[in-house]
Structure formats: C-alpha cells, structure tokens
C-alpha cells in the first residue's frame, strides 16, 4: 500500500467472541477516491465499514484520516458521513429536518442552514422537497435524501453500506449513474460496501476484494479481472471455470497427453512436476472445436474432449457449458451457431488470449 493516503486503515483486527471477522486488514484510500469493498456475505466488509464509521472499535490496528488518528474517536466526532442500507431516515422528521440534522447549529445561522439544505437537496435533484415527510417518498427518493443528509455537514469521508441493494433492478441502474455523477462532482473520498460486482466495478475507482475477514486484493476493476492475485479473486470476480490438471514440465496437463501453457495464478507461486493444480479460465479465453466422431475420438493436439451440456444464447455469441470427459464442466464463449446440446466438442485455450491461471488444487487431491 502506498503511504500517505487520505484514509488509512492499518492492520485492523476485530473479533466477536471467538469469531474473527476482520483479520489484519489494511487499506489506503487517496483523497477524492472511491473505493468499493466487495465480498460475499460474511466476508467482513460491513464490519470494516462500521470500524471506519466508529460504530465498532477495533481490537487492534489504526484508522487515520488526513494524518489524524481516529481509531478511538466516537462516531459523532469523526465527521464521516454514512448512508445506511435501509437509509435510516428519521421517520418523525421532514426531509428538510433530516438534511439539516447534521449541520453545526452553533456555527451557522438559521437562514444559512436553510440555504445549505436547499443546495444539498438540489445536488441530488430533490429541490423543494424540504416539507415532505420521508415516509411519503419512493425508495429512490429516500436514497437520495439519505445521501443529501450525509453530505450536508460536509464530511471528510463518505461511507455507504450496500447503497443500492434496497432498490428494484430498473431503478438501481439509474440511481447508480446519478450517484456516480454526484460523487464525482463533489469529489469526496468514498468507501462503500457491496456484494455486487457490477456495482463495485461501475462506481469504484478501485475495488478491494474481501474474503473471510481478509483483504484478498485491491486494484482497478481491470487489474482484478485480468490479474487476480488469488484463487478466490479469480473465482469471485467475473466468470471462470475450474479445470483440474497436473503440473508437468512448466505446463499444465488437464488430461493425459493434453498440455496447456499456463501461468502461476499467485505472484511468486511455483509448482513442481506432478503437483495437482486447478486451472481457472474465463469463457472468452477458451476456444471451441467441433468433433464429428464418437466419444474419445482424437481431436487436434491440446484439445480437451467433452459434450455440450447447455447452450445459452447471448446475442452476438453463446455460452456453451461443456461436460468434460475426464471430470467437471467448463464454460466457453463461441459463435452462436457453433454447436447444439449433445454435440461432441473440444476446448482449448484460445490463441492469443490470457493463459489459464494455475492454483494449488483445493483439498490437494491427486490428478486423474
């Protein structure tokens, strides 16, 4: 991590009873940067957010913002804005009262507060909504009020907990675009939690992938997709198939006599001859080859034989699920009219595409 970030999380640890939910978590966020915390349920991403917000205190580690240590500072003194999953708008207050709640009453006059409320509401396209009750608003409007309320006190950092998960799918995409625009315009340092890859890739300048309380990798969406640092990231980000193989002579053999050029998945990982490995390969990095003959008939060198199990049409191309003769299934992208379910087919790494990434076999079973 580069030192000198605006928001610095250093080796955060958090246990609930005997359960470690955050383990040695470090992350550096630059000023005005938007970082997504992406991970499956139970990966500890919400806990990290709550530690940053101050709702939980870490058992170890430091949180710094703009050089100031806020690790043990109560949430009300951190000047961090937060947008909650269910928005947590105060139901007994109007939209205007909600937005004004966080403004420092001692340093602002009433007209100033009113003006800033109006300004902030305008920035989220809700001009004139001050007297409305929050219960009268639609889900999308509530979300925008929640953003306005968090922004109004001019916080140092903005935190989002699953900002769009409460909206229906059609509204979600539009709200995401609007949110992105607002955040870019204000240029506020933002950390947000999501379990949706598309959301993370669209909103985040960088994405931090979490698994079991640990940071797996942080990088731009492109980096995560093209160069996943761990097997978890390779499997979690984007689509990929797992093909068992054996490492031999610097190449991977998914079946006897079939050898593929492969690369070690994790930086600095090295395999010895005979090591069982899992190959992770994306659908677009596999090429399909038709075969007219019966099962077991020779394909060209380097093709792994199987049969088409399922074909999913996707416009310009189709996804083919192939039941491999050896074991397992693989998914490959091909021309829409290439094959039909039941057809014999072979798969191989597409020429010029990214090489399959090899990771130590999970469970360490011997190769077939």
């Amino acid at each position: 991590m580069t030192a000198g970030g605006y928001l610095e999380l250093e080796s955060l640890e958090k246990h609930f009873g005997t359960l470690a939910v955050t383990r040695g978590f470090s992350l550096s966020v630059r000023k005005s940067e938007i970082v997504a915390l992406l991970g499956p349920s139970g990966s500890g991403k919400t806990t990290v957010l709550r530690l940053v917000a101050g709702f939980e205190t870490p058992d170890a580690g430091r949180i710094r913002v703009d050089g100031e240590d806020v690790t043990h500072m109560p949430p009300e003194r951190r000047r961090f804005g937060m947008v909650f999953q269910h928005y947590a708008l105060f139901p007994h207050m109007t939209v205007g009262e909600n937005v004004a709640f966080g403004m420092p009453a001692e340093s602002l006059t009433r007209p100033q507060i009113r003006e800033r409320v109006a300004e902030t509401l305008e920035s989220v396209d809700l001009s004139g909504f001050e007297p409305r009750r929050v219960t009268e608003l639609s889900g999308g409007q509530q979300q925008r009020v929640a953003v306005a309320r968090a922004l109004a006190p001019r916080p140092r950092v903005l935190l989002f907990d699953e900002p769009l998960s409460n909206l229906d799918p059609t509204l979600r995409e539009r709200t995401r675009r609007e949110l992105k625009r607002v955040l870019r315009r204000i240029g506020i340092t933002t950390l947000f939690v999501t379990h949706e890859q598309e959301e993370a890739f669209d909103l985040g300048d960088r994405v931090a992938v979490l698994s079991a309380g640990r940071l797996e990798q942080v990088g731009t969406p492109e980096e995560l997709y093209a160069r996943p640092a761990t097997r978890f990231v390779a499997g979690f980000v984007g689509r990929s198939s797992v093909i068992p193989a054996v490492w031999r002579g610097g190449r991977a053999e998914p079946a006897p006599g079939v050898a593929w050029d492969a690369q070690a998945g994790s930086d600095g990982a090295a395999f010895s001859d005979g090591d069982p490995v899992d190959l992770l390969v994306r659908p677009e990095d596999l090429a399909l080859e038709r075969s007219g003959a019966a099962a077991g008939s020779p394909l060209s060198d380097g093709s792994l034989p199987g049969a088409v199990l399922e074909r999913r049409f996707a416009g310009h191309a189709a996804f083919y699920t192939v039941a491999l003769d050896g074991a397992g299934e693989a998914e490959a992208l091909g021309a829409p009219g290439l094959a039909q379910p039941g057809d014999r087919i072979g798969i191989r790494p597409a020429p010029g595409a990214a090489r399959p990434r090899a990771y130590p076999r999970q469970g360490g079973k011997a190769a077939p």
């Binding site: 917000a53 939980e56 009300e76 999953q85």
Partner: protein, 556 residues
C-alpha cells in the same frame, strides 16, 4: 452480512451497575427481608413455617386460593372463548364497536368492577330489589357473598384475557389450514376440534395462565365480598391486622412461591406461543351467518349484560344518600354526591392524592424502566439479563406480597442497610406504586427499543449528534408511543390500586380506592359510586389518550 451485536457507543460505565443495585434494592431486597423475617431472623427457625403447616385455616386459605383460581380459569374460558369466536368469525352490525366495548373491563381497576357488580347483583342491588319487589319479601332474596360471589366477579373481570388472546389467535390463523381440512372432507365440528383449537392452544394456554396468576393475586373481590371465606391474599392482610407479623410473612412467602411456580409455567407457555402464527397466510374471512339476526342479538345481549354493572355504578352515583329504600329503581336522582365529592376539601383529597402519587410513581417507573432498557438493549453490558428479570419480578408476584415486603423493609431505620422508616409517610405509597409499575414501563421500553432500528441512532451519531442529542432528538421521540402506552397502563394501575394501598396507606395519603371503601362502610353508597365512576373515567381517559400505542398487559 455480518450480524454483529451492535453497540456503537460508549455508555456511562457505572450506569448498568447503579441501575442493577437500585432495582435490586427496590424489588429483591424487600422480598429477601420478608423471607428472612419468616425464618425468624435473627434466630434461624422454621417454627413459623411449622405453625403455618399445623393450622387448618392456613391450609384452607391456600387451597381456596388455588381452587378459586382454577375455577376462575374454567369460567373465564367458558365466557371468553365463545365470545371471541362470535366477534372474530361472524359478521353482524355493530360487531366492531361491541367487540371493543366487551374488552373494556381490562382497563378498569378491579375494585371498580367489584363495586359495579355489587350495585347490580348484590343483596341491595337493583336485581335483588326487583326480585324482592315482585315477591313482596322484605328479606333480600340472596346474599352476594362467599366463594360463589368471588367466582362470579372473577369471571366477569377476567374473561377478557381469554377473549383477547383467542381473538388475537384467531386473527393470526391461516385460512389455508381450515380450507385444507374442509377440502379433505372434514365438517365444521371436526375442523374446530382437530384444526382450530389445537392451533389456538398456545394462545389458550397463555390466557389460562394469565387468568390463573391474576386470580391468585386478586384481592378486591375476596376482601369485599368473600365474607368469612379466606384466600391467601386476604389471609395475609388479616394476619397483619391481628399483629401476627411472622405468620403474615410466612403466608407471603407461600403465596409468592405459588405465584413463581405459575410464572415458570407461563414462561414455558410463552415459548411455545406463536407456533400458529409462524405460517402466515390470510385469516379466515368473517361469515355472514344464516341466523344473522340471532347472532347479532346474542352479541348485543352479551355486551349489555357485561356492561350493565358499570351503567349501574353511574346510576348509583346520582342517588342521594337515604333516598333509595325498597323501590326496585331509585326514586330520586340528583348531583348531590358529585357536588359533595368536588366541593368538600376532605372528599377531594383522595382524588388529589391518587393523582399525584400515581403521576410521581409513573414518572419514576418510566425513567427507571427506560434507563434499564436502554442500557440493556443498546449497551453491551453483562447485566442486561439481570436488569430485565428485575423489572419483570413485580409482575409475577401478587401485590399483597409486595405490600407486605415493603412494609417490612421500610418500617426500620438502618440507613447503612438501605432501610428507612417510610411507613406512615407520604413516600411509601408512591414507592410501592413505583415498584408495581416497573414491569409495565420496563416492558414497553424494552419492546420499543428492540423494534427501533439501531441504524437510526448510528445515523444520528455519524451526523455528529452527541449522546444527549441522539436520545432527545431521535430515540425518545420515536419511542414516545410505546413509552406513553406503558406509562398510561402504569398510571391506571396505580390510580386504581387497592391491594397495596390498604396495607400501606395513612389517613393523609389515602387514595381513591380507600375512600371508596370507607364510603361503603359509612353507607354513603352514592359517594362511593361517584368515586368509582371517576376512577373508571380517569382510567379510560388515560388509556384512550396514551395507552393505545403499545400492547402492554396489566394485572389486577
């Protein structure tokens, strides 16, 4: 998502300990002292318990308490369950308003219920006078006295538990169960026996135990119309009147033991509750019955019979003293009783007393209950469970038990041991009301806070609000309906209290209930009735104004 136990903020560190000590001092300490006195402190002895075991009248009172309570359960069920079915499953004109009116006795003080019953069905009540007038007899045709009379009054005031629980259970019932049974060829009778009643079982068990506990602690009815028939609650008070302190302590311990046993059953039953509600579909639709007019008539008659005693109370309050002798209906009606109550200083005093003592007790109970709930639900304290149990204990124990325990505790001066002489002062009754109110305000605060999304307080904190500002601007305003409901029920309970007051009152601090009793003794029936109506009106008004925001339960 990590569902971590949420405790965002630092709490005052000593608050849980201070609250636990305060509540233990108010709730547990008096009970402990009572047990010690029953054991003959300072010389340990079981001789008082042996005395208790040797005396047949004690055994009779104990047994009477139990059988009266069991019979009350049976009678209340026999009235409440059919009534609930009538109002929940049939549709007829006036169903909604009558259904609410029928439940009214639940908010009225038990003493008012007894009084109303006496005026209607008592030996000098309207019904008895009418019978005498018809038979031209100078003797009253019956005496409303003894166990039968107690049972009648109990059934009349406590059927509401069965009524409300059964209605709630029926409303939660999934119509699909009944339709499934019908599709399988079951007739209405079989559906009732094999489907509906088994599904209602948890609600019925809950109602039965609540009725049992209420009946066990009932004091007004056995005291006023029990005659020579004694139950444990009256036995305790009479032992005290006879200065048999040790025996009253032993009796208190015995009654507390039975009540706690009942509580154990109640908690087991509550755990099983909600099974029927776990699968939620639409409730069965109300049917317009074939004999609709008949059903409607039955509904109206039932409601009238149930509300007639209270109407009678109102009537009697307008009867001037000494004007109603042998006539079936009072010949003269005037406002003289009401004028007397509101114009004479000494008659006004009990009203003022009841109001201020109940208000003070409710305010204190609300503060303590909220503080305990807030610390337990939002703070991460190990004392959370203890605090909740301490608040619940006074609910489980009969008022008589607490009255005796508080009397024992606060008649000794030993400040180092947390004991002060409060008996005979104006402080003892508010203190006793406070203890009895704790479960009501505490339960409301706990329930309200548990339903409040912690994210609201976190949002306020992230917007820079201090603990005080969060409490005042977010938590308390949002909890207001729940807290107001708990406070209203607590206020009503204190206002109408008789059982605690009769043990602890002084002439200067006598509340309305005690004044009603002395009015009856001085044969100022009309004045007593006026006080009763006033009590009923104040209770109903508090309930309607504040009490409808939450589902707190109350006990006699």
């Amino acid at each position: 998502m990590t569902t971590a136990s949420r405790t965002p903020f630092r709490f005052p560190r000593l608050l849980p300990a201070v609250l636990t000590l305060t509540l233990a001092w108010l709730v547990c300490y008096p009970l402990l002292l009572t047990l010690l006195e029953a054991l003959g402190d300072p010389h340990w002895t079981l001789s008082h318990f042996a005395d208790f075991a040797r005396r047949p009248d004690e055994w009779q009172a104990l047994w009477a308490s139990i059988w009266i309570s069991l019979a009350t359960v049976a009678l209340s069920a026999a009235i409440g369950i059919p009534l609930a079915f009538l109002f929940e499953t049939a549709d007829f004109p006036g169903r909604r308003i009558l259904g609410t009116l029928v439940a009214l006795p639940v908010v009225l003080p038990p003493l008012v219920g007894v009084l109303a019953f006496l005026f209607l069905y008592g030996e000098s009540g309207v019904v008895a006078r009418a019978v005498s007038a018809v038979t031209r007899s100078s003797e009253p045709p019956w005496r409303l006295s003894g166990p039968g009379a107690i049972l009648l009054v109990h059934a009349y005031t406590m059927f509401v538990y069965f009524y409300l629980f059964t209605r709630a259970g029926l409303a939660r019932l999934d119509a699909a169960f009944i339709e499934a049974a019908a599709a399988l060829g079951a007739g209405p009778g079989r559906i009732l026996r094999k489907v509906t009643l088994p599904l209602l079982r948890p609600a019925l068990v809950g109602a039965a135990l609540l009725t049992f506990m209420t009946s066990l602690s009932s004091f007004s009815a056995p005291y006023l119309i029990g005659g020579t028939f004694r139950v444990m609650t009256t036995q305790i008070v009479f032992s005290r009147l006879n200065d048999d302190t040790e025996m009253s302590m032993v009796e208190t311990v015995a009654l507390a033991a039975i009540a706690l046993l009942g509580l154990v059953f109640l908690q087991k039953a509550e755990k099983r509750r909600g099974v029927a509600g776990a699968i939620r579909g639409a409730a069965p639709a109300r049917r317009k019955l074939r004999r609709g007019a008949l059903v409607a008539a039955a509904g109206w008659v039932f409601t009238t019979v149930l509300l007639l005693p209270h109407a009678m109370l109102l009537l009697v309050s307008f009867v001037p003293a000494g004007t109603w002798n042998s006539e079936a209906l009072p010949p003269v009606l005037s406002l003289s009783n009401w004028t007397a109550v509101f114009s004479e200083r000494e008659r006004l005093r009990p009203i003022v007393n009841s109001l201020w003592m109940s208000a003070v007790a409710t305010a204190a109970a609300l503060t303590l209950g909220f503080a305990a709930a807030w610390t337990s639900v939002r703070g991460r304290t190990r004392l959370a469970g203890t605090l909740e149990s301490l608040l619940a204990i006074p609910w489980a124990l009969p008022g008589t038990v607490f009255a005796v325990a508080l009397a024992a505790t606060f008649s000794v001066r030993a400040p180092w041991a947390g004991r002060f002489v409060l008996i005979g002062t104006a402080a003892i009754l508010p203190l006793a009301y406070l203890v009895r109110s704790l479960p009501l305000t505490g339960r409301a605060a706990f329930a309200g806070l548990r339903q409040l999304d912690p994210a609201l307080e976190e949002a306020a904190a992230s917007l820079g609000a201090s603990r005080t500002r969060r409490l005042l601007r977010v938590t308390l305003p949002l909890l207001r309906p729940a807290l107001a409901a708990g406070a209203a029920i607590a206020f009503i309970t204190s206002l109408g209290d008789f059982v605690v007051s009769i043990v602890l009152y002084t002439f200067d601090t006598r509340p309305i209930s005690i004044e009603i009793l002395s009015s009856l003794r001085m044969t100022e029936t009309g004045v007593g009735a006026a006080y009763g109506v006033l009590l009923a009106l104040l209770s109903a008004a508090s309930f309607l104004l504040f009490g409808t925001g939450g589902g707190a339960e109350r006990r006699a």
